[in-house]
Symmetry: C2
Subunit: 174 residues, 2 copies
DNA sequence: TATTGTTATACTCTATAACTATA
DNA sequence: TATAGTTATAGAGTATAACAATA
């Protein structure tokens, strides 16, 4: 019964997310106040820095792709399907570390927008082969251009060389 | 009305979180399957690597501090209060980038456990001066030892030098 | 029996609005 | 009027459990 309301709710939520991302930028440094408040042990914790960085990076991604209304997880799903057509939902979920239950809803919304289609598997009637639609392929190409722009923002923020070092250091987590 | 159930619910949730953290370790690499599934453009995105890294790092933190039942955000709140006694809730929220509405609940649970106390401000009757209790100070010392152990896990995972480079690169986000 | 996709539920985190009591 | 703390609500994300269809 809640299913019918999804579209309008999601649209409203997305608009809110975009508003947030637009306004809540440029304060990565806590320029508001409290620069004199010490962080003590937190300074030495990689997890704290990584969390703050991730908040910034996701906000910039959402803002940069706001015109096409695509969030980081949706982008990752479409990218993997685009690069590996015919994957099952289980395979995508495992590869990206997403719960298969959650992927169901992600794919619902991408299918509603005609970016992805679930095609019955020829070999296993339980599973779906995931493909991008023609519209999805065109759209993904545009998303990739915008995502590359976002990536340039990251390079501007932390420095080009630092960004590359970071990618190298964290390569084992991809 | 939901307030009364919180304690038992939270306890159950925490137990579940600990179980998760205990079992869901060691698969940071997607060793399950799908190593032959290409990530395409995702490989070049800092945000994807950072997200995966953060998932790993938070799970290890939760696991390492499971015996004392402290999560990353609770730790950060106690650390900042410990280093800056008398801060208001607004000041802590701003410094850590937490919503003030959320900090209310975080402090509720830390106060219930007698780690933190809200003392009426002498100068502004709207605000609270936050302090660690005696018990909180002792507890925090132990949390810091465990957090340092967690930090050693990070160093083992990505390498000691890489961890230090990472901290340097992301220093502007703390 | 085990697995795929699905539905439902619960908890965490983030964001927002509105209320109160102060300032 | 504006601010500090609080309460309530909604959405995203994560984790589980349970079910039907299929293997």
């Amino acid at each position: 019964m809640a299913t019918r309301q999804k579209t309008s709710r999601k649209a409203a939520a997305t608009a809110a997310a975009i508003r947030r991302a637009r306004t809540a930028n440029g304060r990565a440094h806590n320029s508001d106040a409290g620069d004199d408040i010490g962080l003590d042990a937190l300074i030495g914790h990689a997890g704290y820095a990584v969390r703050r960085f991730q908040l910034w990076i996701f906000q910039d991604f959402i803002k940069t792709l706001a015109t096409v209304d695509i969030r980081p997880t949706q982008y990752s799903v479409m990218t993997v399907i685009g690069a590996n057509p015919g994957l099952s939902q289980m395979a995508v979920a495992k590869r990206l570390g997403i719960e298969r239950a959650r992927l169901v809803h992600l794919l619902d919304s991408l299918e509603e927008r005609d970016f992805v289609s679930r095609i019955p598997s020829a070999t296993d009637r339980r599973s779906h082969a995931l493909h991008l639609t023609a519209r999805g392929k065109t759209a993904l190409a545009q998303f990739k251009r915008l995502a590359a722009e976002h990536e340039r923002h990251v390079a501007e923020k932390i420095g080009k060389d630092n960004r590359e070092q970071l990618l190298q250091i964290l390569a084992c987590f991809t």
